[in-house]
Structures are given as C-alpha cells and as structure tokens.
C-alpha cells in the first residue's frame, strides 16, 4: 500500500462514526462553503481600491512534504503557505495531512489554512478536529466551521460555546458572529450571565429585538461592564431595529451604572448621524449629558 492509499484510508477512518457514511451519501450534496464576500465595488465618485495582490507562488509539493515532516515549525509554516495557494492540490495536501493526523500546533495552523479557501468535504474533517482533545486545534476547527454552511458544523459551534476551555468558547463566539447563528442566542445569554467575555460580540451579531430585550433583562445578573458592552455593540449595528427596539436598548443602557454604559452611549452618538432625527439618539444624548453633567 502506498502512502496515498493510507491517506485515503486515514480519511476514511477519520471520517468514520457516521461521517464516512455521510460523505458517501452526500457525495452529490456536499456541505457548501459559506459564500465568499464579493469583491467590493468602489462607490461612485470614489477612487477604485488598489488591485488585490497576486497570491504568492507556493511550491505545493515541497510544502506538502514539509507539512508532514518532523520539523513542527516548518510544518506550521508549510500549512500557512498551503492556505495561501490557489492550487487545489494545496488544499488537498492540507486535507490529507489533517485526515491522517498532525501535531496539535501544526493542526491548528492547517485548519485555519484549510478554511481560508473553503471547499466541499472540509467540514467533515473540521468537525472531527472540533472534538480534538487539545484546545488549540479544537478552537481553530470551531472557528473555521463558521465559514461553512454546514448544519452539523453549526451545531458543533453552538455546542462549543459550552467548552471547558475559554479559548474554544471564544472561537465559538467568533464563529457564531461570523456565521450569524441565531439559535446560539440562548446559550450566549447564559454565557453572558456567567460573565464570559466570549459572549458580547456574538450576541450583538445575532441579536434581534427580542434577544436584545432578553439581554437587557440580564441587568443585575450579568456583570455591568459586559452587559453595557453587549448592548453597546447591538446599538452599533446599522441593521438592528426597528427604532423602538433601539430606544429600549438605550434605556436599558441608562439603567447600567459605571463608565461602560456611558462609553457605549457615546459610541452610539458618534456612530449615528443627527439626521434624520432618531428618538434613540435623542435619549442617548440626554442620558450622556445627564451622566456627564452630574444630572443637570
């Protein structure tokens, strides 16, 4: 048997426990990578952005060899370079190496590199690494799963919000933020109540009016600073609304003592144009003036 055969074997075994079956059954319906953002078009009247730099030329064969070598630093560098390469063989090399096992430090880099150019079939390997016993590759895998439109992967991300390791929870929060996984709201609220710094950003990313209301109800439960940070980030979202929901968030911030609430309101004022006039802005302005003016 050749090493390639073993890699296939490894991938088969690595995708076991139902995943192998899943791969077979989904051969024609592979998990889709999340849509990549379209290249930004320059706004009318503005100068065109600089042309993106050409991808670096990577010796895929050499990098693939280094990736599975004994030198861990070289392997990590090789993983990173393979992630930058557009050659599908680079992606394949990453997938093969991950499927047959890498040192945790190398695996973490390889997982990030793999997700740099999402492809069908990646999610199955990422999901395996989302259960790795070492926190570093686990966090990398969870974070990477945020770039894939894969139901199982999303479930893993939501589950990882309860990981014992703070790094992994943070990565899960970032993945929720990236993939806008709304069903994560309830667990994120629980994390917020526990004072977990992984909570504010993803909550703000997925919050609708109802979730914002539930966040506001955490007053007295969640730490004031985190609560203010969360509500402030919700207010910053241009797509958050409608206006009455914004007003409620502003009023919730008004109830939070300490400088973080004032900072959040001030940030909102800075980020929001005066016109058209908004009640939420008016109330925020009044509250800031009241707090900073000593109530006058």
């Amino acid at each position: 048997m050749t090493i390639r055969t073993f890699r296939r074997l490894g991938r088969q075994a690595g995708l076991g426990a139902g995943l192998a079956l899943a791969l077979i059954s989904t051969a024609s319906a592979q998990p889709k990578p999340a849509a990549r953002p379209a290249a930004a078009r320059p706004a009318p009247g503005r100068p065109a952005a600089a042309k993106p730099a050409a991808p670096p030329v990577v010796d895929v064969k050499a990098a693939a060899a280094a990736l599975v070598g004994r030198d861990l630093d070289a392997a990590a560098r090789a993983a990173a370079s393979l992630g930058e390469a557009v050659d599908p063989a680079a992606h394949e090399a990453l997938l093969d190496a991950l499927a047959t096992g890498l040192h945790p430090k190398v695996a973490a880099v390889a997982l990030a590199a793999l997700a740099a150019r999402p492809a069908a079939g990646d999610a199955a390997v990422l999901r395996l690494y989302a259960a790795h016993r070492a926190a570093e590759p686990r966090a990398a895998a969870v974070l990477a799963l945020g770039g894939y439109d894969d139901a199982g992967g999303r479930a893993d991300i939501v589950a990882a919000l309860g990981d014992e390791d703070a790094k992994v929870r943070r990565a899960a929060g970032q993945a929720v933020e990236k993939a806008k996984i709304k069903p994560a709201g309830e667990r994120l609220l629980a994390l917020l109540a526990k004072g977990d710094p992984a909570a504010p950003a993803p909550i703000a990313a997925v919050a609708d009016a109802e979730l914002a209301r539930l966040v506001a109800e955490q007053l007295g439960t969640a730490p004031d600073a985190l609560l203010a940070q969360t509500l402030g980030q919700i207010l910053k979202r241009a797509d958050f609304g409608p206006e009455p929901a914004r007003v409620q968030v502003v009023r919730a911030l008004a109830k939070i003592p300490g400088p973080e609430a004032i900072n959040a309101l001030t940030d909102y004022l800075s980020a929001t144009p005066e016109k058209p006039p908004r009640q939420s802005r008016r109330e925020a302005e009044a509250l800031v003036a009241e707090r900073l003016g000593g109530g006058k």
Partner: protein
C-alpha cells in the same frame, strides 16, 4: 477456637475454687447433672398451650415499654387494639418481665410488681445488691441479685408470691444469670455452664443441665418452648438436652453474614448491661423453632436479624431473602412472635413484619408523651394482626435506603445491602445503584463496592440507564457534567457477549462515542469507554476509534496516556478487520506518530500476528 476453649474452661476453674469453699445446697458442683429422666419429669410439669399465645392473663398481645423522661414512664400498649392501656410514672431500670396479671421490673432499688390491668403497684421488695435479672410466671416473680461482697460474693435467687411475700431463696457462690420462668419452672443459668431447673413453687432443684461443649449464656422462653445457648448456637430444652453436647442435643446454629455476625440469639443472662434494655437489643437474631419433634428446625426455615434500624430476613444459611429499613429512628425492641416479627422504634412506632417476606403487616404508634422508647418487652406470642396491611415497601427500596444511609456505623451493612442488590435484576436497581455511585456524599469504600456491583450485574435491562448516564455531555453553559463515566463504561463493557436490544445497543454506542469525542472526558475514563465500545460496538466502533487514533497519534499529551492508546489500538487490532490492522500498521510506521504511540502499535501488532 482457643478463645472459645478458654471461655469454657474459665467457669470450670471458678467452680473448682468454689468446690474448695464447700459450695451450696442447690447451686454447687455436686449435683446429678444431665439426667435424662429427671429432665423429662421436670419438663413434663409445664402446662404449655396448644398454640402460641401471650402469657399475660388478659390473653391480649401486649407491649410493655419504658419511655424516657423524669421520671421515666412504664407504658402498657395493647397490640390488638393499637391503643395504650395505661402509662404510669415508674423509674424502671431493668427489662420488664411479664407474669399472669402483673409485670415486674426493677424500679430504683426495688423489685416492683404492677397490675397488668392498670399499672398500679401490687407490691415491692428491696433489692439489697446488684440486680442481675428478673422473671415471672403466672403467679410468681423471681429475682437474681448479687450481694455486696464482704468476704466472698454471693448471688441470690428469690421467689415472691402474688402478694410479694418471699416464697423461697437460694444462694450461689458463683455468678447466677438472669433467670427465666415458664409455667412453674424456673430456669436458672449458673456460671455459664449449668442450667438449673427449679420448681417455682418450692424452689427445689428438679434437675440440672451441664453444658459440656457449649456455654449457657442465654435462656429464652416462648409460650410453647424453651431454649438456651450462647452465640455458638441454640439448644432446645427437651429430653435430648440432658446430653449436654451439641451433637446429641436438639441444637442448631444459623450462619449469619459476616456483617451481622455480632447479632445474638438472646439477651445475655450474665451481662449486667443487658439486665436492662440496651444497644444489645438492637442486634438480635429473631427466630422461632418447633417446640417438639426431631431435630432443631427454624420455623419455616427462616430467621431474621434486627440490626438497629433494619431487619433482614435470612435463610438459616445466611442467604438474604428480604430487608426492612425503618425510617429515621432506630428499632429498640424486637421479637419473633410466630406469625409476625414485632418491632418497636425509639419514636414509639410499632411495626409487625411478615417473617417470610418482610412486608409490613401492621403499624401502630405509642403515645410516649414526648419521651423516647428506651426498650420494651413484647408478650405477643401468636399475635396475628387484624386487617393485615401486607404493605410491601420492597426489598430493593429497603436495601437502597440502607446503602444510602448516612450513619457511619452501618458501613459493613451498607456493603452487604449493595451485594444483595447485585443479585436483583432490572433498570430500577441499576438506576439506584448508579445514583449511589454518583452521589458525592457516598463514602469512598461504599462507592467502590457499589461500582463493583454495578459492573458485576451484567443486566441488559439496565443498559438504557447506563446509556442515559453516558449521554450527558460536559457543558460549561449548563453546568452539566457526566458522572462516574469510568464505572458506567465498565458496566457497559461487562455486557460483552450478552444479547442486547438493538436499539438500546445503538444508543449506548452513540453515547460512548460522545464520551470518546468529548475533550472534557477525563483521560483516565477513556480506556473504559474504549473497552465498552469494543465490547458492544459490533463493528460500529471501528470508525470512531480509527478517527481518534489518527487525530491524536501526533499529540504528545494523548501519547502520554498509554492506557488510552493501548485500549484504542488493542480494540482496533483485536476486534477490527484487515483495514484496522493496516491503519494501526500505518500509525506504527509513520514518522509523525509520537514514539510512545508507535511503540504501542508495534507491540500489539507483533503480539497478534
């Protein structure tokens, strides 16, 4: 054996010294011991009832108890009516002996007889020495006390008539035990070696039995028979007892579980502590035996052991048949009354148990006026409670209650209960055992015992319960954490080769895979998880185990967990097919594999060619 021999020799040595002093008329060394004819005649004097019945003249089953307080109270409780008949202030300091229309006990420094009808004092006599014990029959009361030592100690046995008048007395130069009385016969143990049978009316010694190869430490009379013996066993008082030997007497001994071995067949006649109600009454073998016939047969081939709050039904060979756990408070008194086992708790609850099943046949409550029941005498032979409750609290529930009991005195008993549970099938038992293992308050030794039992059960009906325990995933958000994964997994692994419900097996495999792939699963639990997967996986385990090996073969931390790696590789090689063997060979040979993992792989491969 040596200690038992010394115990037997000790009274002989004392008796020898007594002989040198001259002895006494009744209690001495020179007597016509072990005479079968005189024994037969003496026993024939008794007028025994055709069927078991209370000894008191009312014919009603009664309990006479002592309640705490200042002063103490003497309570007469009618078991048939479930009602207190009377309560009187009485400084009772001994067991209560039940006569025909009176009860007698030591009150303060007097022997006091009270009317059964109302508890009023009939008569009292001073006890001018150290009280040893009292007994009563229909008409008379008997007391043994030790006279304060002057030159040499003297023990007295005195009989009193219905009006408290002294009928006769005998002195003894050596220890007399607490007497027993039965229908005109007085049974008086002497020096733990002899049992004198005296005519209660005249005090004349009718005959005497000498224990040749056994002590005589207790005497027990029921309404229809009399017995004597020691911790070594029970002699029926019949013609055969004249041999003085176990082999040729009507003799038996029950084999008790080692945890209950301290229980005794009756109150010691020579222990001054047991002259009154004591903790010894809470560790008692409860038994009945046929009054006549060949050989000694425990009634219905069953015995019970009262052990503080618990009662265990046993075969004479010591096999547990049922268990009863009394809630909260200790049982302070118990008696095998024939058709029921009667018990009374410190709180005054009276419970009648079915001797065959342990089912609660009857319950009652004694109003103790705020006091506690210190002890009690049952006069309830033949009591068959009306309206049989036949409430089956269940042996499983009782055993579990015992196993979970917080009282540190009961650790050996808890282990016995757990061992008994291991023989009982069903998911409920598994669930309850698991709850003991996962309870943080369970003492370590008991947890280990329960864990071993759980693993040893091999009960497929319990698999869903084990699966439910394994299905719990550690979660920082909810605070959930699987408990006792190692024990549960071992219990699952023990089902290797047992026919399982396919759905239950699949669910168990999924739960095990969940633990295998959870980073929160403790590394020390993983070998058991892997073993369990290998045991019941039916091939489904190969994928997850292969994934685990490939993913972690380059991880130094996992590689350091040699037991985990060994279990995974072993399962793949021993339970897998050629594909798994090739996978392990790849792991063994690939340069990236941590050395410890590669070594394990090579070793297992080489051992399984």
């Amino acid at each position: 054996m040596i200690r038992a021999g010394l115990r037997l020799l000790l009274p002989v040595a004392v008796a020898a010294s007594l002989a040198a002093c001259g002895g006494a008329a009744v209690f001495g060394l020179t007597s016509d011991d072990n005479n079968r004819d005189t024994l037969s005649r003496a026993l024939a004097m008794r007028q025994l009832p055709a069927s078991p019945a209370p000894r008191n003249a009312t014919g009603k089953p009664m309990l006479f108890g002592v309640a705490s307080g200042k002063p103490r109270k003497l309570v007469a409780y009618d078991l048939a009516a479930g009602a207190v008949r009377w309560t009187v202030d009485a400084d009772v300091q001994s067991r209560i002996a039940v006569g025909g229309d009176f009860v007698v006990a030591r009150e303060g420094s007097d022997l006091v007889a009270r009317a059964i009808a109302d508890g009023k004092i009939r008569w009292k006599q001073p006890i001018p020495g150290t009280f040893v014990g009292a007994a009563a029959d229909a008409e008379r009361a008997y007391v043994v006390y030790q006279e304060p030592a002057q030159k040499r100690p003297v023990w007295w046995l005195i009989a009193y008539g219905a009006g408290g008048e002294e009928l006769w007395r005998h002195d003894a130069p050596g220890p007399l035990g607490a007497p027993a009385a039965q229908n005109g016969l007085v049974l008086s143990p002497f020096l733990t070696q002899w049992l004198s049978l005296l005519d209660g009316r005249t005090g004349a010694q009718l005959t005497r039995i000498r224990g040749i190869d056994a002590e005589i430490a207790f005497v027990r009379v029921t309404s229809d028979a009399a017995f004597f013996g020691s911790t070594g066993g029970i002699f029926r008082l019949d013609d055969h007892a004249a041999s003085g030997r176990r082999a040729t007497s009507t003799f038996a001994a029950a084999t008790l579980p080692k945890q209950l071995a301290r229980a005794t067949y009756g109150a010691s006649a020579f222990d001054p502590v047991q002259a009154s109600y004591s903790a010894a009454d809470r560790t008692r073998v409860l038994w009945r035996a046929a009054p006549t016939g060949d050989g000694f047969h425990f009634a219905k081939d069953e015995i019970a052991v009262h052990w503080f709050r618990f009662v265990f039904g046993l075969s004479p060979g010591g096999e547990l048949r049922w268990a009863y756990s009394h809630p909260r408070v200790e049982l302070v008194a118990s008696e095998h009354a024939g058709s029921v086992i009667a018990t009374a708790s410190a709180a005054g609850e009276v419970v009648a148990l079915d001797p065959a099943t342990g089912a609660v046949r009857w319950t009652g409550k004694i109003d103790l006026g705020g006091g506690q029941l210190l002890g009690a005498t049952f006069d309830a032979d033949g009591w068959a409670p009306q309206g049989d409750k036949a409430e089956r609290t269940g042996t499983v529930a009782a055993l579990l209650a015992i196993a979970r009991d917080r009282d540190a005195r009961f650790e050996p008993i808890k282990e016995m209960a757990v061992s008994a549970l291991s023989t009982l099938p069903g998911p409920d038992v598994t669930r309850d055992l698991l709850s003991i293992v996962t309870d943080a308050r369970t003492p370590a030794k008991l947890r280990q015992t329960v864990a071993d039992v759980l693993v040893g059960r091999k009960d497929p009906a319990g698999l869903p319960v084990l699966t439910a325990a394994l299905a719990v995933r550690a979660d920082h958000v909810t605070g959930a954490a699987p408990k006792a994964v190692d024990v549960v997994a071992r219990a699952v692994a023990a089902l290797d080769g047992v026919e399982l419900d396919p759905a239950a097996r699949k669910a168990a495999v999924d739960a095990l895979v969940g633990q295998l792939t959870s980073a929160a699963t403790d590394a020390k639990d993983l070998p058991a998880v892997v073993d369990a997967l290998a045991a019941i996986g039916g091939g489904e385990e190969r994928g997850p185990l292969g994934s685990f090996l490939l993913l972690h073969r380059c991880d130094p931390e996992v590689a350091a967990q040699s037991a985990v790696i060994k279990a995974v590789i072993g399962a793949l090689v021993l339970r897998g097919g050629p594909t798994e063997r090739e996978l392990v060979r790849f792991v063994a040979e690939d340069a990236r594999t941590e050395a410890a993992v590669a070594t394990q792989a090579r070793q297992i491969l080489s051992q399984t060619r």
